[in-house]
Subunit: 174 residues, 4 copies
């Protein structure tokens, strides 16, 4: 049997989204998941319910691949649209694994778990796109000054489609 020639890997995009989400956040997360799958990206998320589940469902609607990085040890906690549940058992420290695994991050909605992933993504040099939630907060002049000082790439999108485009553009040439 010949040695298989590996194909180039698809881009991995982390979607950071709260379990307890508003209707708008759910719709946005689903549209982002769908958009990422349509562009051939692998969607990585926290794997649980709420807007995480919406993002995974969107990706599966478009035939994409989804990875869920769970806080606990039981894969039954994964939403049904997670193809590959990772059982980290790490609790909230799994947010750092999510932020590191995405080559870029898209954050939807306003939970503090999501904020931690945004901050960890920036800390690791990943481009981070915000849609709603923390976008107006982190787009303030004060926040801009704090993040610019260290060369972080923090972008704000107005629509799910723009969020997908900004994330892919930030990785172009990668």
């Amino acid at each position: 049997m010949s040695d298989p020639t590996p194909a180039p890997r698809p881009l991995r995009i982390a979607v950071c989204a709260p379990g307890d989400a508003t209707d708008v956040e759910l719709a946005d997360a689903e549209a982002i998941g769908r958009g990422l799958a349509e562009r051939g990206c692998v969607l990585v998320s926290g794997g649980l319910g709420g807007a995480m589940a919406a993002a995974c469902r969107g990706a599966k609607e478009a035939g994409g691949v989804t990875i869920g990085i769970l806080p606990g040890y039981d894969d039954k906690a994964a939403n049904p649209w997670v193809d590959h549940p990772l059982c980290t058992g790490l609790g909230q420290a799994r947010n750092a694994v999510l932020a590191a695994t995405g080559q870029a991050l898209i954050a939807v909605g306003g939970g503090v778990g999501t904020l931690s992933e945004v901050a960890l993504g920036l800390r690791l040099g990943r481009p981070v796109v915000l849609l709603g939630g923390w976008a107006p907060v982190l787009a303030s002049a004060e926040a801009h000054a704090l993040t610019e000082r260290q060369g972080h790439r923090l972008l704000a999108a107005a629509t799910p489609a723009e969020a997908v485009e900004l994330a892919l553009a930030a990785l172009a040439g990668h």
Copy 2:
């Protein structure tokens, strides 16, 4: 030999502070470290240099105990005022260990690592006091709406002394 009766444990306060800090942040961190030690608290930090080292130095000036939760495996990375270096090897995921170990958190300065600790602390239900840095950002009406919705305890201090008082007050009756 009789069984030793354990004394009540001192409070553990996490000081979240950047390695790359301004002079004001360094002075604030040192004053907070000193203030915590004067009040009998154990200071927990990320253990490295910059404002983390300033906080530890302040605590040791007042005879306190300091714990440093390092990202790597080598205790030589700890600043010299860390009594007990913890070599986690966890990289940025060590921020979650810091946020969880502090019974309350005080954040000084504006790094994104510090922001991740603030967010993780709130996620875990810890009271978080901000001095400078992210304080104006997270005190905005938009941020307030996002964090209030989930009952988080996010407080802003005007001085190092007030930061110490707010953290201890938040734990009173604990």
Copy 3:
């Protein structure tokens, strides 16, 4: 668009194998990877070189899916047969993520990293199959007494094919 009905997930089997491996270990790891893929399992490994790469190559030869749980932040460290690199940044603590993510574990070869994964897998209640390496050590009467006392499922295989069969049999009815 209709809600996609999720298919049942394939089994995830963790292959624990050293980076520094003998020729026999490399051949065994490749045969196990191939056998798991032929049985429709997703292969999870530490994602690096040596016997980890051999296992992934075997799985890809048979058209399987491979996940690599890396210790660092750079996906360039993944071997070319990893479909989905997870950049944990956790150092050796990633071994716990690997042990937890596999529904069963197969350990090839004799490194101490591999031994840690075997032990963590048992600790988490996962069935663990040994091929070579630690098999004679952990099959001793003394080890048997220690692990039996706690109801662990530690199995020894004589061939790669038997290792795959034992892992799947241990999960039958799961």
Copy 4:
């Protein structure tokens, strides 16, 4: 106020010991804790009950300092002889933090959690002393061959006092 001159840090020794322990293991753990404290070492453990609690109690009987690296978020899980509980929330991955934080490890008893700490300690280049439990297993010719091949320092002690001496001797000149 003058800059405090930091004193050299005491050695940190990790005691790896099961929660579910025999009477002999409990007595051994307590004697090791006492012996380490008498020699001025800081005792690091998993912080829970059983032989972990015995080791901490022994250290406190001799006036030592104890650090407990807990798997969860609640410091109430710490045994009463832990001076400084670390709430990692990392689950079993906290074993890697324990193994990395100890400059040397002493393992008492035969649990698989303990075995994972032994293996992780060896993986990180720490000297590891075994008393009972895994000692006869890992002292076998087969195990010796596996660990010797990579230059690991795995030592067996016959008594608690010898375990303390071997750990300190392994760090002499450190």
